[in-house]
Amino acid sequence: MQENPVGLRSRRRREYWLFAALVAPNLLVIAVFAYWPIVYNAFLSLTDWNMIAARPAFVGLANYGRTLTDPAFHRTLWVTVVFTGLIVAGSLVIGLALAFLFNLPLKGRGAVRTIAFAPHVLSGAAVATIWLFIFDPGYGLLRGPDWMNNSDWALPGLVIVYLWKNAGFAALIYLAGLQGLPKELDEAAVMDGASTWRRFHAIKLPLLAPITFFLLITTVIGTFQAFDVIAVMTGGGPGDATTTLSWAIYNEGFQAFNAGRAATLSIIMFVILLVVTTVQARVLERRVHYR
């Protein structure tokens, strides 16, 4: 690069200091409340500590060895994958369908949109309590199987609750995407005689890809961290039928007081999410058409 004139260089420096001053407060907050816990958590994962003992004992990578070879952990991972897969797929499909519905010029759609979105802003504990009534084997609206007291039905039951809670959010985001699509393309396709299905899968779906990508990442992360509804409705049970990674972290940390192993599970979850997000980003980068 060519040498800069002196005036330009000092202006750059002033701008640099201004930049630093403006981002410092945010950086500080992020450092204290996000990065510090991650670093501390990574440290705890190398220790054996029951949270009451005066100090943690350093054990190196023993927690990782024990966790990764534990059959209970493998089962937890499997439950988490099934749980996340069903909720992510369900939220996207139902959300997209609802978005198309809400995009139709029907009477009262404003009210219906609000109703569909409302569960998303309700507290998880309240939602869980309501659904316990709905699933109650004695007098519930959806009585049939004893949902929460049966290992085969408890996980599907939880998935239903989370879909009910999340699909409205996906619908809202998709709807915003749909309404932002350029009308010319669709009109041109109609002129060319394209069928509704073809306009959907060859034009609208690809154009919505950035939205899908956003929802995919946020829903995967959100579902991995899901805790409130599980805590109220199943407590990870019956047996370990609904023990997801996040419930296992709580159980290991706050019921068993094994801070080291809870921290290990958290780091494993962090790495999984990091890998999933990176892979999604890499794969979709090539397919997503940003306009």
Partner: protein
């Protein structure tokens, strides 16, 4: 270079940033509000785990104490369940704060004791001989007291007297589990809410406390010392009896809240803490009966419930003040009042002679059941008491039996492996401090 510097900093921070607990440091009290008239007294913060009817009784005792003298103000802070209190005490200590007194359950006080978070109580107790010896002795390790008994309980068998009468059964608790099983078909002929009345409900969560007694009744145990025995014959027989009651005979089921179902008349009998007697009696719209938990090849039931521990990381002044409250609770009239208000066992021997309690037992014999049954009660097997999360490992195993018709021998073999690992975590401290 820069990156290496950052990594070095990242590795050093946790070590430098967090001083850990010193067992003799004095920590500050949790915040609260002191009414003006008590402002000049020594403040004692008492973390309690009792809500509802029992919480009001705690408030009553504390208010009476605060009026009874001029030096100490006890502030009771309700913190949720037994587990919640344990979590919050641990979190407080990490944050260098300590309540002065805390209710600790049958399975949580041990972890605070083993890790030197509790103050030894021998020097504070005015007269240890006043306490009920069995309940007091459970907190004595190598001659030193670590908690005092407070809301101590055993399970008792609650039965629906109206339903028993309708089924043509005697007005008493069954003597054995086999007898209860033989009564099941008669109870099933009674209708309740449009369906056949069920005989027995098992708790979905924390049912391993009642099951501890059931295992003894069928001749087994959870462990000898920390050596796990839950996969052996007696425990498997107890599990098998319960499995067949649920899945073969369809007489029993797993309930999220057995006491709610019982109070609503959905199930004829439950094994539940005597500490729920008062609230159960007031909620149920039928006559509530209570009796001993049935035996089978043996009798024997587990003690449980809460004691009060004093934290070690508080000042000498706060310790003395907290001890004054413990002494107050050990007065016969106060212990008796607590029993009358809740149904918990009288933890002080002389409380049984207090006229109000004698009168209550004469009028409502249910209140005397747990006291009479105390002769059969004993401290739980060490793995459940000292193994952190042993209770969760056991009750999630029971859930598989109740929910999925899993074979108890298989379930308990898996649970035993988990308990072995849990026992290994505490074995060194257990052998050093308890044996």
């Amino acid at each position: 270079m820069r990156r290496r510097g950052f990594l070095g900093l990242a590795a050093a921070l946790p070590l430098a940033g967090c001083g850990y607990r010193s067992v003799d440091a004095v920590y500050s009290q949790p915040a609260g509000a002191v009414p003006a008239q008590y402002a000049r007294r020594v403040r004692v913060v008492f973390w309690s785990s009792y809500g509802g009817v029992n919480g009001k009784a705690v408030d009553g005792l504390v208010a009476k104490f605060n009026e009874s003298q001029d030096d100490v103000y006890v502030e009771v802070q309700f913190q949720g369940s037994y587990d919640d209190v344990a979590q919050k005490v641990a979190a407080a200590l990490i944050a260098k704060q300590a309540p002065d007194l805390a209710v600790l359950s049958d399975v949580t006080w041990e972890r605070f004791f083993l890790n030197e978070a509790l103050e030894p109580l021998n020097g504070y107790l005015a007269d240890p001989a006043v306490y009920q010896p069995k309940l007091f002795g459970e907190y004595v390790v190598k001659g030193q007291s670590w908690c005092v008994p407070f809301a101590r309980s055993t399970p008792i068998l609650y039965y629906n007297r109206d339903a028993f009468a309708a089924a043509g059964l005697p007005d008493r608790a069954p003597r054995t589990w086999s007898e209860l099983q033989s009564w099941g078909p008669s109870l099933a002929k009674v209708q309740s809410g449009g369906r056949a009345l069920r005989t027995l409900a098992f708790a979905k969560v924390d049912g391993d406390w009642q099951f501890q007694g059931n295992v003894w009744q069928f001749g087994g145990s959870y462990s000898r010392g920390l050596d796990v025995t839950i996969a052996e014959a007696g425990a498997v027989a107890a599990g098998e009896w319960q499995r067949s009651m649920v899945h073969s005979l369809k007489l029993a089921y797993m309930a999220s809240s057995p006491s709610t179902d019982f109070a609503n008349g959905l199930v004829a009998t439950i094994q539940e803490s005597t500490g729920g007697l008062k609230s159960m009696t007031s909620k149920a719209k039928f006559r509530v009966g209570a009796g001993f938990v049935p035996g089978e090849v043996a009798s024997g039931i587990a003690t449980g419930g809460g004691g009060i521990g004093m934290l070690r990381n508080i000042s000498a002044e706060r310790k003395q003040a907290a001890a004054a409250f413990l002494t107050f609770l050990a007065r016969p009239e106060n212990a008796a009042w607590w029993t009358i208000q809740t149904g918990y066992l009288p933890v002080v021997e002389a409380a049984r002679e207090v006229p109000e309690l004698k009168k209550l037992i004469a009028e409502q014999p249910n209140y005397g059941v747990a006291i009479a049954q105390l002769a059969n009660a004993r401290q739980q097997d060490a793995i459940r008491l000292y193994g952190r999360n042993a209770n969760v490992a056991i009750y999630t195993g029971l859930q598989q039996i109740y929910a999925d018709n899993a074979a108890p021998s298989k379930v308990f073999a898996t649970v035993a492996r988990r308990l072995d690992a849990i026992g290994a975590e505490v074995r060194r401290l257990y052998e050093e401090k308890v044996l």
